[in-house]
Symmetry: C2
Subunit: 408 residues, 2 copies
C-alpha cells in the first residue's frame, strides 16, 4: 500500500499566494445589496414569495464599458461569494476561517490566471438560503423578529438563478461573457444557460451533471437526518442556544467521504492508526488516521456553517433536474440553450461521475449545441475541481478566449 | 432511465419457501451454551479476559459419526445464528422479525441446496458482542447486575474465531469440512484458515477481503458517530429507557447505501418522488422513493438490533486485517494456511470490491495455496452475496464436492 503522507501532497498543501502577489486579486470586500422587497418579492418554485432578500457578492477585475466581459462564478454547497483574494474585514466580521486563507477558487482567479482579472470581471454571489451574507434560515424574519429557522421557504437552483439574474440586471449586465461553476455551482451554470439562453455566451460546468444520482440523494438524506436528530436541533430554533453542532459535523464527515475518491483515501490515510505504534487502541473513539481527518473536517465546518442552511442547500441539490424543463426529457430541455459549453469531469469523481457529465454532454450534442467535453484523469475524486488547477487552467483559459478545446 | 419497480425484482421478492417444503430445513430452534466461565475466561485481543460467555448457535443437518461433515457458517454485521429455516420460538422469544421470514441464507441451506443438509451438518453461531443470544453489551454484567453497555470490552474477529473454536471443540469436531461466510463473515472464514490451519479443509469467502478499506473505515466512523450523538444514547446506558433509535436508524441507512450499487439504486428508485404526481413536495422530509426506502430500512432495523452491538461489531470490522498475522505482510500471513480456498466477488460491490478480494486471492496464490477466484457480474452491489443464489450455488456446490472451479 502506498503511504503518501497527506502533508506531502503538493496539490493539497499548496502555499497560499499572498495578497501582495502580482497574480492575486489582493484584498477583497463583500458587497451586500437588497434585491427583493415587499414591492418586488421573489416568487419561488415552491409557490411562496420571499422578501426582503439581501445578497452578498464579490467582484474581481473591472467591468468594461460595454459590460460584456463579466463572468458569473457560481459556488457549491459550502461555498460563498468570497472566491478569490483575502477578505479584508474577515476578522472584524467574525469570519475567522477566512483570515488565514484566500477565497475558495483563488488559484483560478487573478491577473494572468484562468479567470484573468486583467480581462474579465468576475462576480460571485452567495446563494439564497446560505449563511454567508445572503438571506437564509438564520436571517431575521421581519414578520416575527426572530430567525426564520425552518419557516424559511424551500429554495431551488432555479430560485438561485432567478435571484442572480436580478443581481446581474441591477449591475446593468445584459449578457454574461460566461457562467462557471463546479458541482452544485455547475448546475447553476447549466440552469443559467437554460433559463436565460440569450444572456449567457459561454458555460463552464465542472464535476457536475443534469441531476444528482439516487445514491447522491441517499447521502443527502442521511446527512439531513443526522442534523435533524441532533439534541440541539430543536426544530431548527437553535439560534439563541447551542447549535446542532455534532449533527452538522457528522453530515460534513459524510460529505467528505463523497468528495474524496477511494484511491485518494487509501493513498492519504490507508489503514494507519494515529498512535500506539500503528496498532489498534481498542476503543470506540478516533483511532485511525482517516477518522481523525473526518473528525477535523466535521469540527472545523461547524464553526463556519449553519445547520439549517445545510438542510436547505442539500435539498436544492436534490431537487435540481435540468430535464424538468423538457418535461423530463433532457434533450428537449437543452434545445433552447444558446451558450457554448465546456463540460469537465474527473475520472475518480463518484458523486458527479464522468458518466453523468457525459450524459449531459451528449444531450447538448444531440441538440446541436456547441459543446466540448473533457474527462480529466485524477485521483482526487469530486474535490478535483478545486485541486486540479494545472489541468483545468489551460482548458478554461482557451475556452474563454473563444478557442474550441476538444469535441466530445 | 430504467424504471424497474422494486416489487418486480425477482431476486429481492423471491417467495419464501415454507417450512414444510422438501428443500427447507423446516422449523429450527436455537441452542445456547456457556463457553467461558470464571475458571476458563476468554482472553481477548484487547488484553482483557471475559467471562461468562454464552453463545447461541443453530445446526442444520446431521453430524456423521466421524464428525467430518461439518460446515461452519459465519454471519455478517447484522446477521445471527438463524441462517436457515423457520424459527419455532421466534414469537415466544420476542423476535418478531423472524416470524414471517426464514433465516438469512435460507436459499443456500437445505436438502439439495448448495449447503446440502443431506450431506453436511451446518453450524452457525452468533458472534461475541452481538445482540442475538451471544453475550454482548446488552447482557448483564455479573459484577454489577446491570447491562455492560460501553464497559463491554472491545472484541475482534480474532476473538470471535477463538470463541467459535471453543464451540467446535465442545461439539467434538476436530476438522471442519468447510468454513463459509460473506462480508464480515468472510473475514471470519479467512481468520479461521489462518488461526487454525489444521482444522479447516475448505474456506469459502464471499464479498470480502483481507481488510476493510479506508473508505469503509470512514463509513463506519460516521455510522458510530450518529449513534453516539443520539439524545438517548446516554453513554451506552439506555437499556432502562428509550433506545438511541434514530441514531441507529441513520447508521443503518448509511449501511444500506454501501450495500447497494449505484446502478441498483438507480434501477430501483432513480429520482422518483413518492407522491405528488412525481413532483417535488418542497419540504425537508421523505420526498424521494430512495429516501422512503432508507427510512424503512432504518426504522425496521431498530426494532431488531442493539445500538451498542452496532458500535462493537463495526469496530471489529474496522480492526480486522489478515496481514497482521504476517507483521503487515499479507503474503507472509497466508503462508501457514492449509485450506483450499474459493473466493467470490461481485462486480458492483463497492464495499468489499473485486480488487480487494483479488488482492487476497493473489496473496494466497503467491504463497502456493489452492485457491480459486471468481468475480460474478452483478448489479446488486455488496448485497449480491445474499441475492445471487443461482450464480453462487453451482460454484459452492462443486467446490464443496471437491471439484476445482476455476483458476484465478
Amino acid at each position: 500500500m502506498k503511504n503518501v503522507n497527506k502533508n506531502s501532497d503538493p496539490k493539497r498543501k499548496k502555499k497560499y499566494e499572498s495578497p501582495d502577489s502580482l497574480t492575486s486579486v489582493g484584498w477583497t470586500e463583500p458587497h451586500v445589496i437588497t434585491l427583493a422587497d415587499e414591492s418586488n418579492p421573489l416568487l419561488l418554485d415552491c409557490g411562496e414569495e420571499l422578501a426582503p432578500i439581501s445578497v452578498e457578492y464579490e467582484m474581481y477585475g473591472e467591468m468594461n464599458q460595454n459590460k460584456d466581459n463579466v463572468i458569473l462564478l457560481l459556488h457549491a454547497l459550502s461555498g460563498d461569494a468570497h472566491a478569490a483574494g483575502w477578505d479584508k474585514k474577515a476578522l472584524e466580521m467574525g469570519r475567522s476561517w477566512r483570515v488565514d486563507r484566500p477565497g475558495w477558487w483563488d488559484a483560478m482567479i487573478g491577473p494572468g490566471k484562468a479567470l484573468d482579472t486583467n480581462k474579465y470581471c468576475i462576480i460571485c454571489s452567495n446563494v439564497l438560503g446560505s449563511c454567508y451574507g445572503t438571506t437564509g434560515p438564520a436571517s431575521i424574519d421581519p414578520e416575527t423578529g426572530v430567525p426564520y429557522g425552518l419557516t424559511f421557504p424551500i429554495v431551488t437552483v432555479g430560485d438561485w438563478v432567478r435571484l442572480q439574474e436580478r443581481l446581474v440586471s441591477y449591475l446593468g449586465i445584459e449578457k454574461l461573457y460566461a457562467v462557471i461553476g463546479g458541482s452544485l455551482g455547475g448546475q447553476q451554470a447549466l440552469e443559467w444557460s437554460l433559463a436565460y439562453p440569450d444572456r449567457v455566451e459561454r458555460a463552464v460546468i465542472l464535476a457536475s451533471s443534469a441531476r444528482l444520482s439516487a445514491q447522491g440523494l441517499a447521502f443527502n438524506a442521511v446527512a439531513r437526518n443526522s442534523i435533524l436528530n441532533d439534541t440541539n436541533f430543536n426544530g431548527g430554533n437553535y439560534y439563541d442556544g447551542d447549535q446542532p453542532a455534532q449533527g452538522l459535523a457528522i453530515a460534513r464527515m459524510l460529505g467528505h467521504i463523497t468528495y474524496l475518491s477511494e484511491t485518494a483515501m487509501r493513498d492519504k490515510f490507508g489503514r494507519r492508526y494515529r498512535k500506539n505504534g500503528n496498532r489498534p487502541g481498542f476503543h470506540l473513539g478516533v483511532d485511525f488516521e482517516v477518522e481523525s481527518y473526518l473528525e477535523y473536517q466535521g469540527q472545523s465546518f461547524v464553526s463556519r456553517f449553519d445547520a439549517n442552511s445545510y438542510l436547505y442547500i442539500t435539498r436544492a441539490m436534490d431537487y435540481y433536474d435540468a430535464a424538468d424543463r423538457g418535461g423530463g426529457d433532457l434533450d428537449r430541455a437543452c434545445k433552447n440553450a444558446r451558450a457554448r459549453f465546456l463540460l469537465i469531469s474527473f475520472s475518480s469523481d463518484w458523486l458527479y461521475t464522468p458518466e453523468q457529465t457525459k450524459e449531459l454532454a451528449f444531450a447538448l450534442y444531440r441538440t446541436k449545441k456547441d459543446v466540448s467535453y473533457v474527462e480529466i484523469p485524477s485521483t482526487y475524486g469530486h474535490d478535483a475541481f478545486l485541486l486540479e488547477v494545472d489541468e483545468i487552467t489551460p482548458l478554461i483559459s482557451k475556452f474563454l478566449k473563444g478557442d474550441t478545446n476538444h469535441g466530445i
